[in-house]
Subunit: 192 residues, 2 copies
DNA sequence: GAAATAGCTTGATAAATGTCAAGATAATTC
DNA sequence: GAATTATCTTGACATTTATCAAGCTATTTC
């Protein structure tokens, strides 16, 4: 599974074989069965996780016990709880596997060292953060300005790989609408 | 006005007098009257802007002509269009002054140089990006999971400096609810 | 300081979306 | 492969929020 990670890295940053070895030395492969937690609310998140295979979600549970999905991550995505990682506080979000998955974990200390030692690595990691932030802002725009149907349309075009991969009630949760509304919206769309 | 910026910087990063001089040399002060644009949709955004005085907002206009506010920035905040800055594409958002304001502008090239030359500067800029992203994710959670009243309550506690400073229809726009609903929510809250 | 504009509130009504319940089908588990 | 569980759909109805319109203040402009 490290090969998937290596292939991803080499497409993003110019790294030598020695660099790859250094990265490999601090990478930990973790296999997850469907429904298995990678992070549970209350625990501290101390790593960066790269998804080599499968699909995971990050979500928070509100006062009424409802889940709200913040992130989906499939192959070649990163996932984690940045808040907990940065502050060291217990996480308020959960991460679990939607499918049997494999992730590459690099703990914070090792990851920071890699960033310091490998400038190209650092650079593309920074770019990911930049792009993630921009995507996050775009999602806010969608959430505050779109109707339910527009939210779903936008989801299909921005995350096409997920539309037929994850259950629809999870897509609904991600979009902030009810599963029933999503079902009706989809029904309407086919009639057009 | 550079003094405000200097004071802010010195509270965030360990910088020498020479460093400050270097920063000052590439800083451009810009004064804005209320309602004046700092960035207009269609133009390319090429700087980082620090708010030394006043209050600005960043917003997008939807297909129906409605404004949706993405960001408020008061003293000691940064504002800009990261998407346009990163990609070089024309901005789809607008930035204008809600009050008479003064901003410190540093263009992209100079800013990147500062980051390369001043490690502590770079470090705290990265931290701001991290925290901004976390805040953005928290806002998504609020937007997809809270009722109108909860959104406003949350706004008051996360952005107390804005609650009595910007018009309420702008707060409503930021929260993704109508101005009338916000008015009613506020009315209800006083009765409790 | 009169006139114009912007901001806020309130009522009446409409529209969008949520909730609850039931049933159908598909997928998973033992 | 039978039983269980998860997923999706649909209907009926409730609730939340939006929209439209009017009026009232406060603020800004000339």
């Amino acid at each position: 599974m490290f090969e998937v990670f290596r292939k991803y890295l080499s497409s993003k940053a110019n790294l030598s074989d020695a660099d790859f070895e250094r990265i490999k030395a601090v990478s930990v492969i973790k296999k997850l069965r469907k429904h298995q937690y990678l992070l549970q609310e209350g625990d501290v998140w101390r790593s960066n996780a790269f998804v080599a295979k499968g699909c995971l979600r990050r979500y928070q549970i509100d006062a009424k016990g409802q889940e709200h999905i913040l992130t989906f991550a499939t192959e070649n995505w990163w996932i984690g709880d940045r808040d907990s990682l940065l502050t060291g506080n217990p996480a308020i979000s959960n991460i679990d596997a939607i499918e049997d998955s494999e992730v590459v974990l690099i703990n914070k200390e090792n990851f920071d060292q890699l960033c310091q030692q490998l400038p190209t690595f650092n650079e593309f990691i920074q770019t990911i953060l930049q792009k993630s932030f921009i995507a996050s802002q775009n999602r806010i725009y969608a959430t505050i300005s779109y109707t339910a149907e527009e939210k779903y349309q936008n989801f299909i075009s921005t995350r096409p790989e997920l539309a037929n991969r994850v259950p629809q009630h999870m897509i609904a949760s991600y979009l902030g609408i009810s599963a029933e509304t999503l079902s009706r919206v989809r029904n309407q769309m086919t009639k057009k």
